[in-house]
């Protein structure tokens, strides 16, 4: 496996979507290639940062207000 092969496999590798042979070949390449190891680690970092900090946040008050506004728009509330 070379750097190009690894780049192609990167997303599947991160998804855990590779078979045992592919994974072994990828790990062997990563062990000997600092550049690909950096890309993999950097991508893992980006995923973690996006997950931890990437949401446009709502406050609890926002949620309650939005639900009130929503129910006010329901034509026939349950009765």
């Amino acid at each position: 496996m070379d750097c190009e092969d690894l780049a192609e496999l990167l997303t599947d590798l991160l998804e855990g979507d590779v078979d045992a042979d592919q994974e072994a070949a990828a790990l062997a390449h990563l062990a000997s290639c600092e550049a690909c190891e950096r890309v993999l680690a950097g991508t893992r970092d980006v995923i973690e940062i996006a997950h931890e900090h990437g949401r446009a946040a709502l406050e609890p008050d926002d949620r309650q207000r939005m639900f009130r506004e929503l129910t006010a728009k329901i034509p026939d509330p349950p009765n």
Binding site: I47, H51, E52, A56, L58, L70, K73, I74, P78
Partner: protein, 176 residues
């Protein structure tokens, strides 16, 4: 299946709202960069959900379904904006580099940095990363929400992650 009372339906709807409103708002906000438009999308999405509440059971399937509605509504709103580009502040190009003040005011430093970085991504890449990494949806749901094949979805996520990595590095260098 037992028939639910109207009160039970209403409680189930409230649970559905509380469990999913953050994700729906996030996807809308990351496409529209406008708080009030994103809240409009939240309203239309959950009003549609209410009309289908009897069929909405399986929790795992509900969120992708809601996000697909939100995505389509947000895209329709973006297209309408682009059709009348007289007000420069409503131009998507402008919006894409300028996160709304509410986004910045309430955000922690890291959240602010990531928001600014996400704003620099091309729309389809930003959407893919938002769905896969921020919302942690399986790749197959990302594909079905956007309406593309699995390998195309993987490609967008891959490009989005790479772009986000570059944007975060540039932000770090410029001392944001």
């Amino acid at each position: 299946m037992d028939v639910e009372s109207p009160e039970q339906v209403f409680l189930r709807f409230e649970d559905l709202f509380n469990a999913n409103v953050d994700a729906v708002f996030n996807v809308a906000q990351r496409l529209l960069w406008n708080r009030s438009d994103a809240e409009d999308v939240v309203q239309t999405t959950f009003l549609k959900a209410l009309t289908r509440i009897a069929q909405l059971r399986d929790d795992e399937r509900v969120r992708p379904w809601l996000l697909q509605i939100a995505y389509r509504d947000a895209i329709a709103l973006l297209r309408r904006r682009r059709d009348r580009p007289t007000d420069p502040s409503l131009l998507p190009e402008w919006a894409a580099v300028e996160p709304g003040p509410s986004d910045i005011a309430i955000a922690s430093d890291m959240a602010r940095i990531v928001t600014v970085a996400l704003a620099q991504l091309e729309e389809s890449e930003r959407l893919a990363v938002t769905l896969r990494d921020v919302e942690d949806l399986p790749m197959r749901d990302v594909a079905s929400i956007i309406g593309i094949g699995l390998s195309a979805a993987k490609m967008r996520v891959l490009r989005g992650r790479a772009s986000l990595r570059v944007a975060l590095q540039e932000d770090a260098r410029s001392g944001l």
